[in-house]
């Protein structure tokens, strides 16, 4: 069976339209980030306590909130979590290493529940984890930049890294728009997106490099477009299979992993788009401009 045979879509011809689309998406995301005052960070980065409680019977989050307030907890955030008898309780920093469990038991006395998960992160550690996560992303980008510069040339590297930044920014924007929290697992998802998107971009770049050698006389934009078309069925099939598994993870992997999977879904979609419409056109433009300059 074949999905696409001898396609010849003028991807590069649409590069201006694509650029507007990308810029709009990024702008909307950034705007949302600015309005909300930066990404919404989870307790991994801010410090605080998160408890996942499973009650014996379904109940209203309002009831839990009321009981916790009466129990002396400061501004608890209660959120339904998966099944209708499970809630997430979030509290600001300050309760680490205290008798948190006992206070919880006292406040919710009368209700039968199990503490399924409890995470407490001190404020100092939160700051450190934040620094480390940023460091990790920067190091990953740097390593990738060096590798591509060595294997291809610097315009390819610039194209790939811009596409990466594009993917991460858009995913970050989507998280901000949907008011989802960034925790350590999401940072891991971002780095995976980086790896995935790059994987996709490099397959196209590889074909461009090969075609440039084969057809030296052809117009560079034409060669790039041909390469994108030649690798198109592979790009689509791989994105499809990856989406299949990540979607399964999202639907069936359980609440804990849900947002991690969601980040990957957004990342795979945006990554596939960016390797076609961002990385290759940008690289082609930079190459052609450089060639024009050197021949002038």
């Amino acid at each position: 069976m074949r999905l696409l045979t001898n396609v010849n879509i003028d991807f590069l011809g649409k590069r201006k339209l694509a650029a507007y689309l990308s810029l709009t998406l990024i702008a909307v995301g950034l705007l949302s980030l600015i309005i909300r005052g930066g990404p919404k960070l989870g307790i991994d980065f801010t410090g605080g306590t998160l408890a996942q409680l499973q009650f014996e019977t379904p109940l209203e989050t309002g009831q839990v909130r009321q009981l916790l307030l009466e129990g002396g907890f400061d501004r608890p955030i209660i959120q339904r979590f998966g099944a209708d008898n499970e809630v997430l309780v979030r509290l600001a920093a300050g309760d680490v290493g205290e008798d948190f469990r006992e206070r919880l038991q006292t406040a919710l006395a009368g209700l039968t529940f199990e503490v399924r998960r409890l995470e407490s992160v001190g404020p100092k550690i939160g700051g450190e984890l934040r620094g480390k996560a940023l460091q990790a992303i920067l190091f990953a980008l740097l390593g990738i930049l060096i590798y591509i510069s060595l294997r291809f040339d610097r315009y390819y590297a610039v194209g790939a890294v811009v596409a990466l930044a594009h993917d991460v920014l858009i995913t970050l924007g989507v998280f901000s728009l949907l008011d989802l929290e960034i925790d350590l697992a999401i940072v891991a998802a971002f780095l995976t997106i980086v790896g995935y998107s790059l994987n996709d971009t490099i397959v196209v770049f590889d074909r461009i490099r090969e075609n440039v050698k084969l057809h030296r006389k052809d117009d560079f934009f034409f060669t790039v477009n041909r390469s994108v078309n030649q690798t198109l069925s592979r790009t689509i099939i791989t994105s499809l299979t990856t989406l299949m598994v990540v979607l399964m993870l999202y639907l069936m992997g359980g609440e804990v992993i849900k947002y991690f999977a969601f980040a990957l879904i957004v990342g795979v979609l945006v990554g596939t788009y960016s390797s076609i419409y961002v990385a290759s056109p940008l690289m082609a433009m930079l190459e052609v401009r450089a060639q024009a300059r050197s021949s002038a």
């Binding site: 069976m1 074949r2 996942q52 680490v96 290493g97 469990r101 199990e114 503490v115 399924r116 998960r117 409890l118 407490s120 992160v121 404020p123 100092k124 550690i125 996560a133 460091q135 990790a136 190091f139 990953a140 390593g143 990738i144 590798y147 350590l184 697992a185 940072v187 891991a188 780095l191 995976t192 980086v194 790896g195 995935y196 790059l198 994987n199 996709d200 490099i202 397959v203 590889d206 074909r207 030649q230 069925s233 592979r234 099939i237 791989t238 299979t241 989406l243 299949m244 598994v245 990540v246 399964m248 993870l249 069936m252 992997g253 359980g254 804990v256 992993i257 991690f260 999977a261 990957l264």
Partner: protein, 625 residues
């Protein structure tokens, strides 16, 4: 005609064998019921199995992850003399500033002290006269406090009975503790945060201990055979072992037990001596093989045994197991001590303990020793105790574990005690840490806690595996639908890929976490990519009119370059994740890393071999792709 790819098949066969060898223990272990596990634990064969299985992360089996930090400001406050308002003020300022700064506490403290013209010498005169000296000494005190806390926690976690706990020092003043499968976090916390209990107990004479053990034997025999007999490991029993073992058990003096010979303990011996059958006599000590410690513990817990032990005595284990060359067996042993139940002295009286090299002319010249000082109350008691027990041994007991049992050579009047007999300087340092642990409690705060209940862990496993299964099936269905026969080949490679990752996890003693499962799932998606690249390339080559074999050859050749370029970048991302990641994220990075490496083998090498075999016959004219 292509040469038969026998070398390739041999390599695949080799990897396949390794995969089975690595994964089998895990399957075996998962099949065991709780009772089976208990039986094996008593028999001492569980540990060996546990050592070869894929261990599950805290998020999958439940457990607790703690990050502890020694409270340096409190420590400094405790150490300081003549505290006044200015001192408190500077210390509080420093503590607040250190909380949201990357600088080290003492650097800030030194700077703030100078700014506020706080004269450190007034408060820390015994640490030196110049500020840099005082700061350096305080730093050493802080390091020492962390070491002591680490040793105390190690000691206690061991008693908690957690298999393979992680206890490690991180970033100077922090300690990370991971206890998998612990159900009660409150208990774990109190265990870790309690002040250490250091005691000195006099060892009872060897003969007395031996008599008590024989009484236990008698009591157990009278009560019928113990419920859990170890499965006799008769396979490794040399013929002469029984006699050797019998000779060694409770054998004459210290010179007899040259060779305990094999560690096989047969049912016969245990029928005769249900308790002492486990116990060997090496030098002046009773020892038990590590794998039989649980069995001995279980026997000691039985009511009949408890009656047989006199009220003034108690059995205690050494804090760690060691290989004893005298036994002639390459096995780890714990020492079982029989002590006075009442400690003769407790650790609060100790004011100083330092590891040194023994002075010239003394008994321990050039040997590592530990020098001990006590307060006046301790001096008096110590003089009395040592005077009354010359020639006997005194056990250094921290939290009910014996760290050392040196002999008392004579009455020690001034409290100044020298302990010798340590193997090396490291051991001497450790003993000094243990001795200091009982005094001056350095407060340890829990600054991060992550606890997962066992039921959530179970849910995570089942949902994770279900997601993996359905995701995998979907991909497989798609591949076979799209690439027909070749899709089947890719499926085979994919399945094998997952097995290789699991085998790698088991062999490397890595931990499978929930994000690890996610990594595995992602690997499935991405591993297909290599085959998609190859198959698409082969199709292109076939379209150009190449023969099947030529198309396969050039398809693989061209796609491999791309695959390597593409995978290197993902591996880079995985390595970075591994480097900065903690716990679960590390787990994700590990599976991603191995998944990609394995996919290079399965998706390129293995599938190609299959194609080679399939197209060996030159008559094959079509390729199902």
């Amino acid at each position: 005609m292509l040469p038969l790819p026998s070398l390739r098949l041999a390599i695949i066969g080799l990897v396949f064998t390794w995969v089975i060898y690595a994964i089998l223990p895990t399957l075996q272990y998962r099949a065991l019921s709780e009772e089976d596990k208990d039986a094996r634990r008593t028999a001492g064969s569980l540990e060996a199995l546990e050592h070869r299985i894929i261990s599950l992360g805290l998020d999958l089996q439940g457990g607790i992850h703690l990050v502890l930090e020694v409270d340096i400001p409190s420590l400094v406050r405790t150490l300081a003399k003549n505290k006044d308002a200015l001192f408190d003020d500077v210390l509080n300022q420093t503590a607040a500033e250190a909380l949201d700064s990357d600088s080290d506490f003492f650097t800030i403290f030194s700077a703030r002290a100078e700014e506020n013209s706080l004269r450190l010498i007034r408060h820390f005169s015994e640490f030196g006269s110049r500020t840099p000296d005082i700061i350096a000494a305080l730093r050493l005190e802080a390091d020492d406090a962390v070491d002591r806390a680490l040793e105390i926690i190690r000691n206690r976690v061991d008693q908690f009975g957690v298999s393979e706990p992680t206890i490690q020092k991180a970033g100077g003043k922090r300690i990370i503790v991971e206890l998998a499968g612990v159900q009660d976090p409150a208990q774990a916390r109190s265990l870790i945060q309690n002040t250490a209990l250091l005691e000195f107990n006099i060892l009872q004479d060897l003969g007395v201990g031996r008599d008590v053990m024989l009484k236990i034997d008698e009591a157990l025999r009278a009560a019928g055979s113990p419920p859990e007999q170890p499965a006799a490991d008769d396979t490794e029993t040399p013929a002469d072992t029984l006699e050797d073992a019998l000779a060694a058990i409770l054998g004459g003096g210290g010179d007899a037990p040259a060779a305990v010979g094999g560690l096989a303990i047969s049912q016969e011996v245990l029928g005769e001596r249900p308790f002492t059958g486990y116990i060997f006599n090496v030098g002046n000590d009773f020892v038990v093989a590590s794998r039989h410690r649980h069995a001995v513990d279980a026997l000691l817990e039985r009511p009949e045994s408890k009656v047989a032990v006199p009220t003034d005595g108690v059995f205690m284990w050494s804090n760690r197991s060691e290989v004893l060359p005298a036994t002639g067996v390459d096995d780890e042993f714990y020492t079982l001590y029989y002590l006075n139940r009442e400690p003769s002295l407790t650790g609060g009286v100790i004011t100083e303990a330092k590891a040194n090299i023994g002075s010239l002319g003394s008994n321990a010249a050039n040997q590592p020793v530990v020098n001990l000082s006590m307060n006046s109350e301790g001096e008096r008691t110590w003089a009395r105790v040592t005077g009354a027990n010359v020639g006997r041994r005194v056990a250094i007991v921290l939290d009910k574990r014996v760290h050392m049992a040196p002999e008392i050579r004579g009455k020690i009047p001034g409290g100044q005690t020298e302990i010798s007999g340590m193997k090396d300087m490291d051991e001497a340092k450790l003993i000094a840490i243990v001795l200091r642990a009982g005094s001056l409690p350095a407060p340890v705060d829990i600054i991060e806690e992550r606890a997962v209940g066992p039921s959530l862990g179970q849910d995570s496993i089942s949902s994770g595996f279900r997601a993996a299964l359905y995701g995998g099936l979907l991909v497989i269905a798609f591949m076979i639908f799209y690439y027909k026969g070749s899709g089947l080949v890719a499926t085979l490679a994919l399945t094998f890929n997952i097995l290789v990752v699991l085998a790698a996890l088991a062999s490397l003693r890595a931990t499978l976490t929930l994000p690890g499962i996610a990594g595995l799932i992602l690997t499935v998606g991405m591993a297909v990519d290599a085959n998609v690249l190859i198959f698409e390339r082969i199709r292109e080559e076939l379209d150009k009119g190449k023969s099947i074999r030529a198309a396969i050859d050039s398809g693989y050749a061209r796609a491999t370059v791309t695959i390597i370029d593409a995978n290197v970048t993902t591996i880079l991302a995985a390595l970075v994740l591994f480097q900065f990641g903690t716990g679960p994220i590390k787990g994700f990075a590990v599976t991603l890393f191995w998944g990609i490496l394995a996919s290079m083998f399965t998706a390129i090498f293995m599938t190609r071999t299959i194609f080679m075999v399939r197209t060996r016959n030159p008559k094959v004219k079509t390729l199902s792709i």
